[in-house]
C-alpha cells in the first residue's frame, strides 16, 4: 500500500509517465485502456517505480492527443469508464504506486460545452470564460509556441464573428482566469479527482494562464496568484497531495513557480534536459554544471522534476541559438526529426541505441538533484517512428512481446490507434519486455537495479549537491549529502576511458563503497583520489568513515 504519512513523498518518488492509450489494450479495440493498464501494474511494481503520471484521459476530440479536453469530469470512452479508472486507482494504490493525473487548465477543446456556449453570443453567461476580442491586435509580440502550425495567437471564430486567444493550437481556446467563475470551476474539477483519490496533478502549460497587455503573457504575477489560490485549497482540503508544474522556462523564471513553498511542489527542470544531451555529445560537463549554477535555490519542501524524454518533442526553447543549432545538427540531421522548436525522438535512437550512453544518462537522471521521470518504453530502449505526424512517433504502443501486435492488443493491426514500431533495430520483435525479462543483463533488468539502488537512500531525492570540478572536464563529479550520508558520483561523459583526480580532502579517511556491487574502493588519503572510468561509465560511491 501507499504509505500515507510522508508529506514529502514526491521527493523520493520515481515517476513513470504513460499514456493509457499506449500501454495495454484489454478489450481488443486497438486502443489502450484503464483495465489494460491495471493488468500491467505488476510490471510497473517490479520495475520499482513509485508513481504513475497519466497523460490526459478525458473526453476529447483528440486533435492534440487529449490535451484538448471537452469534459473534465469523465473518462474518454476509448479508455473505459469512470468506474474503470477508480478500480485502476485502487489497484495502483494497493501496489504501492501513487497516481498523478494531467490537468490541462490553460485551455479547453473548442468542442467543450463551455466554449460552445461562449461563442454563441456576447451575452452568453459563458462568454467571459474565454479571452475574446473584436480584433487580433491585442497582446502584440507574444511568441507563438507551435510555430510550425500556427501563425497567430488569435483565431477568428465564424460563429461569434470575433477573435479568441489561444497559445497553442487554434482549436484550443484559452480559458479566462481573470474570471472568478473559471477559477472556481477549475478547483471543482480538481476536487472531483482528488476526492476520488488521485495523488497529484501535473498542471499543463501553467505560465500562460493570464494575459496582460504589454507583456509576454507568460509568468505574470496574476498567474502566480491563481496558482497560490489552488495550492491553498489543496493544502487545506487534501494535505499530502502534490502539484507539478509544466513551465518550460529559464531557471530564473522557474523559481517563482515554487513561490514561498506556497505554489507548486515540483516543477520540471526543462533547461537541464537538453543540456544533458549536449554534454554527452560534447563530452564536456560544462552545459550541465552551468545550467545548474543558474538554477535558483528552491524552498525546502519543493523539488525539481528531471526527465530525459517525454511525450513531446525534446524541446530546444530553453537553449541559446548556438546550442540549438548544435543540437539539431547532432541529434536531428534528418529534418523529419525536427518539430516546432525541438526534436521528436525517443531516448534510445537519440543515443544511437548505445547501451552505455543509455545507462549513463539514466544514471544522471537518477543521481542529479530532483525526482526522476521515466517515459514509458524507455526502460527497454523502445524506438520511434519520425514518419508519423506531430509527436505521434514517440507515442507508439508499448512493446510487451514479440507476438501479435507486440502483446499490446489482440485487435487487427489495422485497428491499432497507432502503427507499432517495426524496424529491425527497434521493432517489437527486437525490443520487448518479455525478451528483456528473460535476460539478467538486459536494459530492463539494469533499469530495475538502478531504480532499486536509487531508492536505497534518500540522499538522491533530498540531499544537497556539491560539484567537484576536476581538471578533466569530461568527468562530471559531485557529492550528494543528506545528514550523515554522503554519496560521491563520478560520470565519464566521453566515449573514451578517462583518468580523473578528485579533490576529496574533506572526506579524508573515508572508504568508498560502490553502490551497485557493494565493493570496497581504497580509503581517501592525502593525495587527490585517482579514478579511472571506462567510456560512458559512472560510479556511485557511498562514503563511510570506518
Amino acid at each position: 500500500m501507499v504509505p500515507a504519512t510522508d508529506a514529502h513523498w514526491y521527493k523520493d518518488a520515481v515517476i513513470y509517465q504513460v499514456h493509457v492509450r499506449a500501454f495495454q489494450d484489454s478489450n481488443g479495440d486497438g486502443i489502450g485502456d484503464f483495465r489494460g493498464l491495471a493488468q500491467r501494474l505488476d510490471y510497473l511494481q517490479r520495475l520499482g517505480i513509485t508513481t504513475l503520471w497519466l497523460m490526459p484521459f478525458f473526453p476529447s476530440p483528440l486533435r492534440d492527443d487529449g490535451y484538448d479536453i471537452s469534459d473534465y469530469y469523465s473518462v474518454h470512452p476509448n479508455y473505459g469508464t469512470l468506474e474503470d479508472f477508480k478500480s485502476f486507482l485502487t489497484t495502483a494504490h494497493q501496489c504501492g504506486i501513487r497516481v498523478i493525473i494531467e490537468m490541462v487548465l490553460n485551455h479547453t477543446s473548442d468542442q467543450h460545452p463551455w466554449f460552445q456556449e461562449s461563442r454563441k453570443s456576447a451575452d452568453n453567461p459563458f462568454r467571459n470564460w474565454y479571452v475574446w476580442s473584436d480584433t487580433d491586435t491585442r497582446y502584440q509580440g507574444v511568441r507563438i509556441i507551435f510555430v510550425d502550425t500556427e501563425l497567430s495567437n488569435w483565431a477568428r471564430d465564424p460563429v461569434s464573428k470575433s477573435y479568441y486567444w489561444h497559445r497553442f493550437f487554434s482549436h484550443q481556446p484559452d480559458l479566462n482566469f481573470d474570471n472568478p467563475e473559471v477559477r472556481d470551476e477549475v478547483w471543482n474539477v480538481m476536487k472531483f479527482w482528488l476526492e476520488m483519490g488521485v495523488d497529484g496533478f501535473r498542471l499543463d502549460a501553467v505560465p500562460y494562464l493570464v494575459e496582460r497587455e504589454g507583456t509576454s503573457c507568460e509568468n505574470l504575477p496574476e498567474t502566480h496568484q491563481v496558482i497560490r489560490e489552488l495550492r491553498a485549497k489543496l493544502d487545506q482540503q487534501f494535505p499530502g497531495r502534490m502539484l507539478l508544474a509544466e513551465a518550460n522556462q529559464w531557471p530564473t523564471d522557474l523559481g517563482p513557480y515554487f513561490g514561498n513553498g506556497d505554489e507548486f511542489h515540483m516543477a520540471f527542470h526543462f533547461p537541464l534536459m537538453p543540456r544533458m544531451f549536449m554534454a554527452l555529445k560534447l563530452e564536456d560537463r560544462k552545459p550541465i554544471t552551468e545550467i545548474l549554477k543558474q538554477t535558483p535555490q528552491i524552498p525546502d519542501p519543493c523539488q525539481w522534476c528531471l526527465f530525459l524524454r517525454n511525450h513531446d518533442e525534446l524541446t530546444l526553447e530553453m537553449v541559446t541559438d548556438m546550442e540549438r543549432d548544435y543540437m539539431y545538427d547532432e541529434y536531428a540531421r534528418d529534418r523529419a526529426m525536427r518539430l516546432n522548436v525541438g526534436i521528436r525522438r525517443r531516448l534510445a535512437p537519440l543515443l544511437d541505441n548505445d547501451r552505455r550512453k543509455m545507462e549513463l544518462m539514466n544514471g544522471l537522471l537518477m543521481s542529479l538533484p530532483g525526482t526522476p521521470i521515466i517515459y514509458y518504453g524507455d526502460e527497454i530502449g523502445m524506438g520511434d517512428n519520425v514518419r508519423l505526424g506531430d509527436r505521434n512517433g514517440v507515442r507508439t504502443p508499448m512493446q510487451w512481446s514479440g507476438g501479435w501486435n507486440a502483446g499490446f492488443s489482440s485487435a487487427d493491426p489495422e485497428s491499432l490507434y497507432s502503427a507499432i514500431v517495426l524496424n529491425p533495430l527497434y521493432g517489437y520483435q527486437a525490443v520487448n519486455v518479455e525478451a528483456q525479462k528473460r535476460s539478467a543483463h538486459s536494459l530492463l533488468s539494469w533499469m530495475r537495479r538502478l531504480i532499486e539502488v536509487r531508492k536505497s537512500t534518500q540522499v538522491f531525492g533530498r540531499g544537497t549537491i556539491e560539484f567537484l570540478y576536476p581538471n578533466n572536464h569530461r568527468v562530471l563529479a559531485y557529492v550528494r549529502q543528506l545528514g550523515r550520508e554522503t554519496v560521491l558520483v563520478a560520470n565519464n561523459l566521453s566515449g573514451s576511458a578517462q583518468a580523473v583526480e578528485l579533490d576529496l580532502a574533506r572526506y579524508k579517511g573515508s572508504i568508498l563503497i560502490e553502490m551497485f556491487g557493494k565493493n570496497l574502493f581504497p580509503r581517501i588519503g592525502e593525495l587527490p583520489y585517482l579514478l579511472t572510468l571506462a567510456p560512458y561509465q559512472f560510479f556511485w560511491f557511498r562514503l563511510r568513515r570506518l
Binding site: 564536456d284 560544462k286 552551468e290 548544435y326 576536476p470
Partner: protein
C-alpha cells in the same frame, strides 16, 4: 620527469585533463606580460567565433617568465569553475601552461607543442608569436581553417610589411627557399603558423631533427621539412605585421638562429633541393600574397655601410676561408668604392650566400664563426637594398625582391658545385 621525456609530469597531468582536442594553439612565451593577456583573449575569441564546436585548448610553453605571463594565458580559459562572466561557448576551453626546462627554449617550446598536439590528437596546431600586437580573431581562422577544413599540412602567413621590415626574409630566406626547394613561401621562417596533426606526427618521429634544432630557427625547419616531405602548403594573409622595432632586435642572434636552421636544412634535405631543377612554384594563398608599405622611416644607412666596410676589412682572413677568391675580391672592391654607390649586386649576394652555405656544409671553420662572419656582409647587402628602394614604389620594391629571387634561382648551380667540389676532396 624521466630523463628522456620532453613533457613534464605536471604538463602530462594537464594534458590528461584536456583530452583529445581538434585545435591546439601554442604560445612560446618568455616575459611577454605586456602583450600576452590580450593575445590570449583574442585567440580565445577567434576559436569561439570561427570554431565554436571544436574541442580547443591553448598551451603556453613558457621559458621561465618572471612577469606573470603564464597566469595571463590561463586567465583566458573557459571552464565551469570560475565565477566570472564567461562568453557564450558550448565547451570548456583549457588554457594550460608549462615551464620549459633546459636552455634552448624556443626549439624546446615548439617541440613541446608538437608533442602535446600529437598526444592530444589535435587535427591542427597553431603557433602564435607572443610578441604580436596586431593579432585579430581572424588570424585564427586564416591559419587553422585551411588545415581543419581543406586538409593542408602547413599554413604559413603573409603580412603587410614595411619595405624596411623583414629584410633578412626578403633578401635571404625567401630567395634561398624558393631557389633551392622550388616553392615560393613568402615567410619561410614564420612566427605565426599552423600545422596538421599528420605533419606534427611526422616531425615527432624525427628525434634527430629536434636534437639538432636546439635554439635555432625551428620554424624554418617546419617549412623546409614540409616542402621536402611533399606536404601540402598554404599561405594565409594575416594583415599588418609588427614592425621589427617593436620586437627584440639582436641581429647577430637572429642570424645565428635563422641561418643555422637554413644551412642545417640544406644538409638535411640535400636530396630534395639537389634534385629540384624546375622553375619554382607558387604556394596557394588565401588573401594577398604580400603587401608592402613605404611610409617614411628614419634609418641610419650610413651606419650599415660603415659596419659592412669595417667587417669585411677585419674579417678578411676568415672570409678567405669561406669565400672563393673572385667573390672575396669583388667584396673588397665594394668596400673601396664611394659610399653612395656600393654595388652589392644581387648576383654577388647570391654567390656569397651559396658559398657560405657550402662552407658551412663542409665546416671549413667553426660553423658559428661562419655565420657570424656573414653578419657584416648582410649589413652591406641591407645598405644596398635600402639605397635601391629609397624612393621606390611598393611595386618597385616587389620587383626588386623578385629580381633577387630570380638571381638566386639562376645561381643555384653555384651551390651544387660547391657541395660537389668539396665532397670531391678539394
Amino acid at each position: 620527469m624521466s630523463e628522456e621525456s620532453i613533457l613534464s609530469d605536471d604538463l602530462l597531468r594537464q594534458l590528461i585533463s584536456v583530452g583529445e582536442v581538434d585545435i591546439l594553439v601554442g604560445l612560446p612565451t618568455q616575459n611577454n606580460a605586456k602583450t600576452i593577456g590580450e593575445t590570449a583573449q583574442i585567440i580565445r575569441s577567434g576559436l569561439l567565433k570561427y570554431f565554436p564546436r571544436a574541442r580547443t585548448a591553448i598551451l603556453d610553453a613558457d621559458a621561465g617568465s618572471r612577469d606573470g605571463t603564464p597566469g595571463l594565458v590561463t586567465a583566458a580559459a573557459i571552464s565551469d569553475t570560475g565565477e566570472s562572466e564567461m562568453p557564450q561557448s558550448l565547451r570548456t576551453m583549457h588554457c594550460i601552461t608549462t615551464t620549459l626546462a633546459g636552455t634552448e627554449k624556443k626549439g624546446t617550446a615548439l617541440q613541446t607543442m608538437v608533442a602535446a598536439a600529437d598526444l592530444l590528437r589535435a587535427r591542427v596546431c597553431a603557433v602564435i608569436s607572443p610578441e604580436t600586437t596586431r593579432i585579430t580573431p581572424e588570424w585564427i581562422d586564416r591559419l587553422v581553417r585551411p588545415i581543419y577544413q581543406d586538409d593542408f599540412d602547413l599554413v604559413t602567413p603573409t603580412y603587410r610589411r614595411h619595405a624596411y621590415d623583414g629584410i633578412l626574409i626578403t633578401n635571404l630566406l625567401y630567395p634561398v627557399t624558393r631557389a633551392l626547394f622550388g616553392r615560393r613561401v613568402r615567410e619561410p621562417n614564420p612566427a605565426d603558423f599552423a600545422f596538421s596533426g599528420k605533419f606534427g606526427a611526422y616531425l615527432m618521429d624525427r628525434e634527430s631533427w629536434w636534437q639538432e634544432l636546439g635554439e635555432s630557427g625551428a620554424e624554418f625547419c617546419f617549412t623546409a621539412a614540409a616542402i621536402a616531405g611533399d606536404y601540402r602548403l598554404q599561405q594565409s594573409f594575416l594583415g599588418t605585421k609588427d614592425r621589427a622595432e617593436n620586437r627584440s632586435a639582436d641581429l647577430v642572434l637572429a642570424m645565428r638562429r635563422t641561418l643555422s636552421a637554413l644551412f642545417w636544412s640544406l644538409d638535411e634535405y640535400y636530396d630534395a633541393w639537389s634534385n629540384h631543377n624546375s622553375e619554382s612554384q607558387p604556394v596557394p594563398t588565401e588573401g594577398a600574397e604580400y603587401e608592402t608599405t613605404l611610409e617614411p622611416v628614419r634609418v641610419n644607412r650610413k651606419r650599415f655601410y660603415e659596419m659592412f666596410r669595417s667587417g669585411v676589412a677585419d674579417l678578411e682572413p676568415v672570409l678567405a676561408t669561406i669565400l672563393t677568391t673572385p667573390t672575396l675580391e669583388e667584396l673588397k672592391r665594394c668596400i673601396n668604392t664611394a659610399e653612395a654607390s656600393v654595388p652589392f649586386s644581387d648576383e654577388l649576394w647570391a654567390r656569397t650566400i651559396y658559398e657560405f652555405a657550402g662552407s658551412y656544409h663542409h665546416a671549413v671553420i667553426s660553423r658559428d664563426h661562419i655565420i657570424q662572419a656573414l653578419v657584416p656582409l648582410y649589413r652591406g647587402r641591407v645598405y644596398t637594398y635600402l639605397e635601391q628602394i629609397n624612393v621606390a614604389s611598393p611595386q618597385k620594391v616587389e620587383q626588386d625582391i623578385e629580381a633577387v629571387c630570380r638571381t638566386f634561382e639562376r645561381c643555384k648551380p653555384t651551390l651544387a658545385a660547391m657541395w660537389a667540389r668539396r665532397q670531391g676532396g678539394s
